[in-house]
């Protein structure tokens, strides 16, 4: 993910329009949801914050070294903008479980699906995946597309699409497991 993001940033710095579109389409919806959850569901505030986030991050793009995923890197800018937003509003920010690693709570999946918070965390996890992985998982499991149809959408062979779905599932499982372990650690402490 780091190498792919680094290459994407390199293309953006070279002025490649497709790279800009790829970055924007791949990160904007997730960033918007990230901000929205932290500003009390105020969509206008989220828009303002994400705009400021992207403008600030783009100006710092030459400093991106690929040490974190691009989305994670953008989230650090977004957190800063969110803090500034709450400072301007002179109110305490919205606290979310995943913001505190010691309190990151994800309950048992079979029970949690009934809960809105878990649905949100699943979406957070999807936003953290490479956009193609997240889209493929949604197409497969939410929309019920066949592997053949997913392959066509991604301009891949069926075999390559199967392989990508496997990697997407592994990445999702691994990320979700980290959240689950963090929750367990939070409960023990």
């Amino acid at each position: 993910m780091g190498a792919a993001d680094l290459e994407l940033v390199r293309r953006m710095l070279a002025g490649d329009e497709r790279a800009f579109a790829e970055m924007f389409d791949g990160t904007f919806p997730g960033l918007f949801r990230f901000a929205l959850a932290r500003v009390g569901r105020d969509e206008d505030a989220a828009e303002e914050i994400v705009q400021a986030t992207l403008v600030a991050a783009i100006r710092k793009l030459p400093t991106y070294r690929g040490e974190a995923a691009l989305f994670t890197w953008l989230c650090t800018f977004c957190r800063h903008e969110i803090s500034a937003y709450w400072a301007r509003a002179q109110r305490a920010p919205v606290e979310l479980p995943e913001d505190d690693p010691l309190f990151a709570a994800v309950v048992d999946a079979e029970v949690a699906v009934q809960r809105e918070e878990t649905a949100r965390l699943v979406h957070v996890m999807l936003d953290r995946l490479p956009p193609r992985y997240a889209a493929a998982l949604e197409w497969k499991y939410v929309d019920g597309l066949t592997v053949q149809e997913i392959a066509e959408r991604l301009a891949l062979s069926v075999k390559a699409a199967e392989s990508m779905l496997t990697r997407a599932r592994d990445a999702f499982r691994e990320g979700f497991a980290i959240l689950t372990r963090a929750r367990a650690a939070g409960e023990r402490s």
């Binding site: 497709r18 919806p29 949801r33 705009q51 699906v113 699943v122 999807l126 949604e138 999702f172």
Partner: protein
């Protein structure tokens, strides 16, 4: 991927991630895109400056670098105001615009600019256009009409950036209209390219390209008698008619109005080439200019769907 697969169960139960309204996405995309383009441009300028600097002596190089790298006051763009109708703020004909400067027109204003490349860029009412450079503009609201005049295709072109795509001229006259629902490009003559998220569409004479906020692109033929660009003639720079033939004046009229010239009687074409005009049309609207000039020639005129028709009394 079995029915007991927890990932499958989890995703099915939680459903698709909520989307973001396309208008919001478009607004943010526009701002982010502008910041990105500015950054790319600055980087290229810096690289060019450094290349020059290395080739020159140390003293000269330092001087050049300091001059160009200074993060200083607004830079002139080479874009000048040609004509203002109404009351478009502090703009004055002949004045030069700065890079980054916004030009805004109200409900009664129109403005004509001349880009550094010589292209005419005309702003309709209720338009906001930001000057990015001498040949690049960012359309934030409203509509602009671009006329490359007699410049050959392949020379320095004009670039109009919008939230939904980037339009570049290829030796042409075209209209770019921005709405909350998307972008429309109408090509009156020549060709213009439209870049939508990295995909390039080239539109030619008589074509309309519509880019929806979702990114969907639709190409269509301009409807016959389309009058959406008529306003651009109202802010055109009037030609000097003193000593000019009626034929040359009519050529200017039909070019600005985007219609053909037709004579009821073929002999009138010859007659028009022999009539020499006197006086001036400065200060007149486009229609006033035509009426005034034709009144002095003893000929009549009328606009039909796609033509200006000249006839005998």
């Amino acid at each position: 991927m079995t029915e007991h697969d927890p990932i499958e169960a989890l995703l099915r139960a939680t459903g698709r991630r909520p989307g973001v309204a396309t208008e919001r996405a478009a607004r943010v995309r526009h701002a982010a895109h502008a910041a990105w383009r500015d950054g790319v441009r600055r980087t290229r300028t810096r690289r060019a400056v450094w290349a020059v600097s290395l080739a020159a002596s140390v003293v000269v190089a330092l001087g050049v670098a300091m001059l160009f790298l200074r993060p200083a006051a607004p830079l002139p763009s080479g874009v000048r105001v040609l004509r203002v109708t109404g009351n478009a703020g502090p703009l004055v004909a002949g004045g030069e615009l700065m890079r980054g400067q916004r030009v805004a027109t109200g409900p009664g204003d129109r403005v004509a600019l001349r880009a550094a490349s010589g292209h005419a860029v005309r702003l309709d009412r209720m338009t906001v256009l930001r000057v990015v450079s001498g040949t690049a503009f960012s359309l934030e609201r409203g509509a602009v009409y671009v006329d490359s005049g007699d410049r050959a295709a392949g020379g320095p072109g004009i670039r109009i950036e919008t939230p939904y795509g980037i339009v570049e001229d290829r030796g042409t006259r075209f209209l770019v209209e921005l709405a909350t629902t998307g972008l429309t490009v109408r090509v009156r003559e020549g060709a213009a390219s439209v870049d939508v998220r990295g995909d390039r569409i080239v539109a030619s004479t008589g074509e309309v390209v519509t880019v929806a906020a979702s990114g969907e692109v639709v190409r269509a033929a301009m409807p016959p008698g389309d009058r959406s660009m008529d306003w651009a003639a109202d802010v055109a720079s009037p030609i000097e008619i003193e000593g000019v033939t009626l034929g040359a004046f009519l050529d200017w009229v039909v070019r600005e109005r985007g219609v053909a010239l037709r004579f009821d009687d073929p002999s009138l074409a010859e007659k028009a080439r022999g009539i020499v005009l006197r006086g001036s049309i400065d200060g007149m609207t486009f229609d006033e200019a035509i009426d005034s000039v034709m009144a002095t020639t003893g000929l009549r005129h009328r606009f039909e769907q796609d033509a200006l028709v000249v006839s005998s009394p």
